[in-house]
């Protein structure tokens, strides 16, 4: 089959690779209908995180049609049109049983690569470094999906492929971040980042009852989407002296009740090389990229909630004093998509949520490297490039 592969730093190529096969009894093979870029892919494309190998198939946000199933798959049927969360989850370990899906114990065959940095192992991800399992990704004609009965969610009639696609990662990640905020009537939520995840976090904050949502970014076209598609107020951090001051003024001097970081760090912690990478890279990169999280901590009202969706490894100059003395509550996770998929599909069916506006550009699989280029450089107003591999 054809697949988009990582051939080296800033070197993506569409290659011919073997077709995926049923390996374990709970696997299915999906014919990919749509897949999309994610900001977190840029870290290994740029070479900022290790444990990629030349020729790895990338891509973790996707939906498709089941074409083959393993002997132990019961619920999912061949022919089903399904969306699959980017984290692979067994559904039976303690973490899955407690709705902490991205912490699944049983799906990362190379989890020992994470131990030195995280002190633990997380679930596996499709197409996202060997530290996260080394599974082949979904920017391909076909992809193997383990534990299909837990991880495949049937897309109802009337829900389009594009609407379903973003339920794979951007929407559940944003929704989880808003749920972390424990939003009460009348509250204000500020969201750093107006990319796919940030916009969905803003939308979810409204769905969960926020009175006001403030989106922060620097790109005019993304701020425009936040205003027009989500209904958020917006703030361009390049146009104000102090984001913190403006947020305070917008909230009667208190600060937002909850702050969501949907930005993350350029280089994030997914492997043994991270500590070293951070030391190697000049601090300016780190301070630039850690800015969102620091701002969020300083801007948040006393006793408020800090919800971290951005991906991090190590961070220095972390304002622990502000966090502690203001009595903030920090909540963070990689997405627990399996928890949210049923209710998100319901929101889409009811017309309360339509994430398809994130799909600003479409490409064939053969043109996927161009799609990543556009996405990476945020050219032509690109929020997400969508690929159609078949």
């Amino acid at each position: 089959m054809r697949a988009l592969c990582w051939n080296g730093i800033n070197d993506l190529g569409v290659e011919t690779v073997g077709d995926p096969r049923i390996v374990n009894p709970h696997d299915v093979i999906l014919q990919v209908r749509m897949s999309t870029t994610c900001g977190s892919d840029l870290h290994f494309i740029d070479g900022d995180i290790p444990t990629m190998r030349k020729g790895d198939v990338i891509g973790h946000e996707f939906m498709g049609t089941v074409v083959e199933k393993g002997p132990a798959v019961k619920k999912v049927q061949v022919g089903d049109r399904v969306v699959v969360p980017s984290f692979i989850c067994c559904g039976s370990c303690w973490y899955c049983q407690h709705d902490l899906w991205s912490l699944c114990d049983n799906t990362n065959p190379q989890g020992e690569l994470q131990e030195p940095l995280f002190g633990a192992q997380t679930a596996g991800i499709y197409g996202y470094t060997h530290a996260f399992g080394g599974y082949a990704g979904a920017h391909a004609q076909f992809v193997r999906v383990p534990h299909a009965d837990n991880d495949c969610f049937r897309v109802p009639e009337g829900v389009t492929d594009e609407q379903a696609l973003f339920l794979s990662d951007a929407v559940p990640t944003g929704y989880m971040g808003a749920e972390f905020c424990d939003i009460q009537p009348g509250q204000t939520v500020a969201v750093w980042g107006c990319g796919g995840v940030g916009l969905m976090a803003q939308k979810a904050a409204f769905l969960l009852g926020a009175e006001r949502v403030i989106g922060i970014d620097r790109l005019p076209e993304r701020l425009k989407l936040a205003r027009e598609k989500v209904g958020a107020e917006t703030l361009s951090y390049e146009e104000v002296d102090s984001v913190q001051d403006v947020l305070k003024e917008l909230t009667g001097g208190r600060g937002p009740d909850a702050c969501i970081d949907a930005v993350g760090m350029e280089a994030h912690g997914t492997g043994v090389g991270y500590a070293y990478e951070r030391a190697k890279q000049a601090l300016h990169l780190q301070t630039d990229r850690g800015q969102a999280l620091r701002q969020a901590i300083l801007a948040c009202r006393k006793g408020g909630i800090l919800s971290v969706l951005g991906v991090y490894g190590f961070m220095d100059a972390f304002p622990m004093g502000a966090l502690m003395n203001k009595g903030l509550t920090v909540r963070a996770a990689q997405q627990h998509g399996q928890k949210y998929l049923p209710r998100l599909l319901e929101h889409v069916v009811k017309g309360e949520l339509d994430p398809s506006f994130l799909a600003t550009h479409r490409f064939s699989l053969e043109d996927a490297p161009k799609g990543y280029e556009l996405f990476k450089k945020k050219q032509d107003g690109c929020v997400r490039a969508v690929f159609l591999p078949n």
């Binding site: 089959m1 592969c5 051939n7 080296g8 730093i9 190529g13 290659e15 011919t16 690779v17 073997g18 077709d19 995926p20 096969r21 390996v23 374990n24 009894p25 709970h26 070479g47 290790p50 444990t51 190998r53 030349k54 020729g55 790895d56 198939v57 132990a72 692979i88 067994c90 559904g91 039976s92 370990c93 303690w94 049983q97 114990d105 049983n106 799906t107 990362n108 065959p109 989890g111 020992e112 690569l113 131990e115 030195p116 596996g124 399992g133 080394g134 599974y135 082949a136 391909a140 076909f142 193997r144 383990p146 534990h147 492997g271 043994v272 090389g273 070293y276 990478e277 030391a279 190697k280």
Partner: protein, 269 residues
Amino acid sequence: MRDTIQQPGARSPAVPPRGGSQRRSPFGRDGQRTSEERLPQLVSALAGGALLTLGLQRGRLGGVAMALAGGGLLFRGTRTEQEPYVRRHGVVVRKFRRQRGRDATVELTVLQRSITIQGTPEALHRRWLDAETLSQVMGHFADVTSPGEGLQHWRVPGVLGKDLEWDAQVVEERPGELLRWQSVGDTALPNEGWVRFRPAPRDWGTEVTLRFVFDPPGGILGEKAVQLLGAVPAALARMALKRFKSLVESGEIPTTRPNPAAREGGYAS
């Protein structure tokens, strides 16, 4: 009183060794323990090796720097052989030096890990005894077959240019609590091991601890055997437990073999 090293739990075996084996355990504790805690070094060495490999694959300045850092970690991981043994709660990988004769010392390699698994101790114990379980769980480093009840044949492929093999016999069994085995007969690498099952708090299931002790005879051959076995990562016990857990909880052991990739003919793990 049998002279064995560190029994599971703080008590003597409730059941005497089976099969009429009255030989003295090879794991006598007649020497002072002077070896060092090895875990941080092993982690460091593993990490260093991974970095080195990755760095060398990358081929630009960053890659070279990464490889250098990897080498640094490797150095840290291997240079501390002479440091004194540090006793610390929870140490899971270490070597014991044991006096053999008047001057010679021999190292026992002890690998111990614990993991928490959904399920009752009884159910997990039964699953461990299942004929297919051991061969699947140990599949990452050894082929284990069960020629008879309470007997196992272990084969570690490709050590010293030939397979490293031994027969093991179950010497102690307490249902829902413990299973202990020892190698019998001649082998380059005498060893014993046990797996212990203890109820975990609340709804966590069962805490399972697995321990391997490798006790080579003196001489170059024995040392080489352990070195080579140690090169099959020292995470051996942890890997075995993780595989057991995944098999029991999720019905399969996660793997990416074969995995589509643009190398090695279209598939690679």
